[in-house]
């Protein structure tokens, strides 16, 4: 499955970059994030309790940041599984200045999803992933506005 999104931040790329790499910001903004523990440099173990409406599940996974080119681009490798299925994928994230003091963050992701969730709800997987990504970036935008310069 392929997923794309574009989000505008009212801050220059350096600040957006710093927030996107900040474990405290990530833990606060990832939907349903219960724990986010560093396990190595640029690598975290996470527990998410996430879902939509009655479809909820707990997932354990790892997140690894690679190909860092601050403040322009990085890759986010994600692996997780829970009772309802598994996901494994990579997101390519790029930051582009938009005017003097804003940034466009673009995400192009590719993921494999499998497990029981596909047998009844394959049509829900992509829109749900997109909704969660939108929630994450909206939370990040709020976090950035609320955090001091």
């Amino acid at each position: 499955m392929r997923i794309e999104g574009s989000y505008r931040f009212d801050a220059p790329p350096e600040r957006v970059w710093a927030v996107l790499q900040d474990p405290a910001a990530l833990a606060a903004c990832i939907p349903g994030c219960q724990t986010l523990e560093p396990v190595a440099e640029h690598e975290f173990a996470a527990t998410l309790s996430v879902g939509v409406a009655a479809f909820k599940g707990t997932y354990n996974g790892r997140v690894r940041v690679a190909e860092l080119d601050p403040p322009h681009r990085y890759d986010l490798h994600v692996e997780g599984s829970g009772r309802t299925g598994f996901v494994k994928g990579v997101g390519h994230i790029s930051l582009e200045p938009d005017g003097g003091s804003a940034t466009q963050v673009k995400v192009v992701g590719d993921a494999q999803v499998g497990g029981p969730v596909l047998s009844v709800a394959s049509r829900l997987v992509v829109p749900t992933a997109k909704m969660l990504m939108n929630q994450f970036f909206a939370a990040m935008q709020r976090w950035l506005r609320a955090s001091p310069m």
Binding site: A53, A54, R83, P116
Partner: protein, 283 residues
Amino acid sequence: MYPAPFRYHAPRSLDEAIRLLAEHGDEAKILAGGHSLLPAMRLRLAQPKVLVDIGRVPDLSGIRLDGGTLVIGAMTTHREIERSSAVKERCPLLAEVAPHIGDVQVRHRGTIGGSLAHADPASDWPAAILALDAGLKVIGPNGERTIPARDFFVDVLTTALAPDEVLAEIRIPRPGRAGAYEKARNRASGFAVVGVAVAAEQQDGKVASIGIGITGAAGRPARAEAAEQVLLGRPASPDTLSEAAAQAAVGLDCTPDLHASAEYRRHLVQILTRRALSRALGV
């Protein structure tokens, strides 16, 4: 698989149902026809702790006319709508959409209110409800309110209903408008890869009112407003219909999945809009 354990309530009144929902909050789910919720529970995709079965609450089902408004109770089954002569006469679009849902067994149990409140992004009713400018009457602890269809669908499986509100009625204003529903059906699930519903009225050779509702294409159903604007106040001709259909996917964030790419869905939206317009407007 067996579902996870849950407690089951079958309230005999709407007040009691609302009280149970308020009491159990996030842990409770309303059971209507059960044809989306129960399969999800058996796979343990959903594990509500409490089910509130509204099947014994009086006055939630049935089809009636209230002045100029066609009123459909939320617990009315798809099959009842499909077979209703009042619906055929007053709202042919709904009669046309109903047989597209699942199979006849599903339609005998599944309800229009359950389907709308579940808000599966590929279900059929939302396209029609949007095209018809329906109002959704919901009742909660603070009384009732009517949510316009275009404000009801928020995101995937997410509606404007509060957790302690019950969808009671679907209210269709201005019945009698012409309608058509065109659908590219997923062969395995029966759900819409894309579905387009049109409700329209012509006066003095011009399009006097038009609603185009699209389901299946994106994470939530939507009105094709750009396409509607092309037609409003103009005569319906092959050229104006094609011009409108070309605008039908404007603003849609089409979903790519294993059944269809985003580009293919966008294409289907335009093709199916053209066909639905053609039938609804008789051109």
